[in-house]
């Protein structure tokens, strides 16, 4: 009898507990915690990569995590990185394990709806490509009828490749799916498949990681449009707006010619009204977002503008060079697609 009573009591407590979760913005949680928890890729050189020798995360995407930390806490190191595979990245947001994910993720309709996340502005325009061994003698994706193709799980690539094969009306193709890009590439490198397909940015990264990159050839075709963007919780506008404007600030800074080295100089010029407003020296842009005034200045000072981030990880001096001049990932003023929302 006592047992029964105790059980009923525990049940009642649990029931009340499950109903009593108050709704609050993630922004409050992050501010309270004092650091950002950011989901990233750990095996995609150039974008998100855990460097075994230093134990640090480096890459284009991880710098956006640092940009957010710099904007909120004036400290780019106030980030805890959580490595995510493609398969669990959405779950990490659903469960609240991370605050935001910057992990080369394509913005698609299904992901906005069925996966129930909200996307930030696009930070990299990518497309799906195919890589083969140079000695295979293939120069175009059209020649791959009947080939074995490897890809990684949890991406749009599986369905994109299946669509491509169907459009071509090919028979006998085989698609082998691995857990992540590192294993996919190991299998491809070991000769299990004739070709590997993934976002071109990722192919560039893994190609650069072998001793002799000339062994592999990235075919010229682009099979799909892959606008990559960070994402966060569905229906948390406060948090999402703040994140969106941090990404926008990074792009805006490049267009305005503000870099990590010249920002104090520009801010000192009293006639540069726009720049001073952007940097938070005049006005109070950002307060309504729940961010500190001058969040954009914090970001640019610590992490740099879009061009600096790009050059650091994907520029000509990096091993993962992806030419930027006139590509989609250049500013609209130079023929690219980067056209940030206005800082007003």
């Amino acid at each position: 009898m006592l047992y029964r009573k105790a059980a009923v009591f525990v049940l009642a407590v649990l029931a009340v507990g499950s109903l009593a979760q108050a709704q609050q913005s993630r922004m409050d949680t992050v501010l309270e915690r004092g650091r950002l928890i950011c989901g990233v890729n750990a095996v995609n050189p150039g974008f998100g990569y855990l460097d075994e020798t230093t134990g640090n995360y480096t890459g284009f995407d991880t710098d956006f995590c640092r940009a957010v930390a710099a904007a909120i806490f004036d400290d780019p190191a106030a980030v805890e990185f959580v490595p995510l595979t493609g398969g669990v990245r959405f779950n990490a947001i659903h469960s609240g394990e991370v605050d935001v994910v910057f992990r080369n993720t394509t913005h698609t309709l299904t992901r906005d709806t069925e996966n129930s996340v909200d996307f930030l502005p696009v930070n990299f325009y990518d497309g799906q490509g195919v890589m083969v061994r140079s000695d295979l003698g293939v120069t175009s994706v059209d020649e791959l009828e009947g080939a074995i193709v490897c890809t990684n799980q949890g991406s749009t690539t599986e369905a994109n490749w299946s669509d491509y094969v169907r459009r071509q009306g090919w028979e006998g193709n085989q698609l082998i799916t691995y857990e992540d890009l590192a294993r996919t590439f190991t299998a491809f490198h070991g000769g299990r498949c004739d070709a590997i397909t993934s976002d071109k940015s990722q192919l560039v990264g893994v190609r650069a990681s072998v001793d002799d990159p000339e062994m592999y050839l990235i075919l010229p075709e682009t099979l799909s449009r892959e606008p990559l963007a960070g994402f966060t919780f569905q229906n948390d506008s406060t948090w999402r707006d703040a994140l969106s404007w941090i990404v926008t600030a990074v792009i805006h800074a490049e267009e305005a010619g503000i870099t990590s080295s010249n920002l104090d100089e520009i801010g000192a010029d009293e006639t540069a009204v726009d720049a001073r407003r952007f940097l938070g020296i005049e006005g109070n842009l950002g307060v309504e977002l729940g961010l500190p005034v001058g969040f954009a200045a914090n970001t640019v000072r610590h992490v740099g503008n879009y061009g600096e981030i790009y050059a650091r990880h994907l520029g000509p001096d990096s091993p993962f060079h992806i030419p930027r001049e006139g590509s989609f990932n250049d500013l609209y003023t130079r023929g690219g697609l980067l056209y940030p929302a206005a800082f007003r």
Partner: protein, 370 residues
């Protein structure tokens, strides 16, 4: 009651947080087109009103993708259990061999295998062994048809020519007549009714096939521009998972068998010896049947863990149920619904294995009360 209450609490919490975040909960996605392909695995589908056994295609639904994954899981589980049992029993016996070299080798095998993680072993078999085989272009053909390469092992195989309807009818008739023969033989109290059944099945099958003009041709594996096609093949992914599971589980089975044999009273050995039996007849006729009674419950546990360990297959790209679930959850965004289905399927498989073993256990156990 507490456990049920806690379960309800978890479900309620999950539902609440999902609705709060605007995530719908529905199983309707199961009937949408999947849009992806899998590297191997077939399913039973209805086409033009006929049941056909065919590979999964991108036009099939998510439900059919689950079915394909289930088939691949069952395939590696059933084959794995059979081979692991045979090797495990053999190893267990060898562990007790009087020959120093033999029992030390068996000991070394058991200790090395039991004390390294299964996932690591699968990786080893896949990346360090199977993918190091010669590539499709360099592989040589042995014995007129066998090809072993890092695309898999291929053998010539019989494939039916023309429509499969008549062939299916022959098999169905053979199965029916075989079952009837078995039942009649049992009713008449004949010795070994199962053999009678199998015998008549084979006879009908043979006669039927000859009458229908042997509707088969030999398909030999051939190297195309990229892939090896034709014949019957074992993919490196399947082989790696199977090798990993068999080698790992057989080491545990060996230990269970060794323990069971050692628990047989000395008198049984001496009694068998006094009948003049040599070592292997003694083992096979006297010791192992008794040891089996002791060994079956723990071996049942090992079968269950073998079945559940198939979910590691995702690491080497074998499209088992869990691997396909992960793809489905990513393509459809229905991860909670998908994982519920996946868990129920694994649970049902576990129940089936347990039920079979319990039934067998009841049969071989001494009936103390009777």
């Amino acid at each position: 009651m507490l456990a049920i209450g806690f379960g309800i609490f978890l479900v309620v919490t999950a539902f609440r947080s999902m609705t709060e975040r605007g995530i719908p909960f529905t199983f309707s996605f199961l009937f949408q087109e999947a849009g992806f392909t899998v590297s191997e695995g077939s399913l039973l589908a209805i086409e033009d009103g006929r049941l056909v056994w065919r590979p999964f295609t991108a036009r099939d639904t998510y439900l059919q993708a689950f079915a394909t994954g289930l088939y691949s899981t069952l395939r590696v589980t059933v084959v794995g259990i059979l081979i692991a049992t045979v090797t495990g029993v053999l190893l267990g016996v060898l562990r007790l061999s009087g020959n120093w070299l033999v029992n030390r080798l068996a000991l070394a095998y058991v200790e090395v295998v039991r004390n390294t993680p299964l996932l690591v072993q699968m990786f080893f078999w896949y990346f360090a062994v199977l993918l190091k085989l010669p590539g499709g272009q360099q592989a040589s053909t042995w014995y007129g048809g066998l090809i072993v390469s890092n695309q898999g092992a291929f053998l010539p195989w019989l494939v039916p020519t023309g429509p499969t309807g008549g062939f299916a009818a022959v098999i169905a008739t053979a199965l029916l007549l075989g079952a009837a023969a078995w039942l009649i033989a049992r009713r008449l109290g004949r010795q070994r009714p199962v053999l009678t059944g199998i015998g008549s099945l084979l006879a009908v099958l043979g006669i039927g096939l000859v009458l229908s003009g042997l509707p088969f041709e030999v398909s030999t594996p051939e190297l195309g521009r990229f892939r090896i096609t034709g014949g019957i093949g074992l993919s490196p992914e399947f082989t790696a998972v199977l090798l990993g599971l068999v080698i790992y589980t057989s080491a545990f089975i060996a230990e269970v068998i060794r323990g069971a044999i050692q628990s047989i009273p000395r008198g049984q050995w001496e009694g068998a010896g006094s009948l003049g039996l040599r070592y292997f007849p003694m083992m096979w006729l006297i010791i192992l049947p008794q040891a089996a009674r002791i060994a079956i419950p723990p071996i049942g546990n090992l079968y269950l863990s073998l079945m559940k360990n198939t979910s590691l297959a995702v690491a080497v790209g074998y499209p088992d149920l869990f691997n396909i679930y992960r793809t489905i959850s990513n393509q459809s965004g229905r991860s909670l619904e998908g994982v519920i289905i996946t868990m129920i399927v694994y649970l049902v498989l576990s129940f089936i294995i347990s039920a079979l073993l319990n039934a067998y256990n009841r049969r071989v156990n001494l009936r103390w009360s009777a």
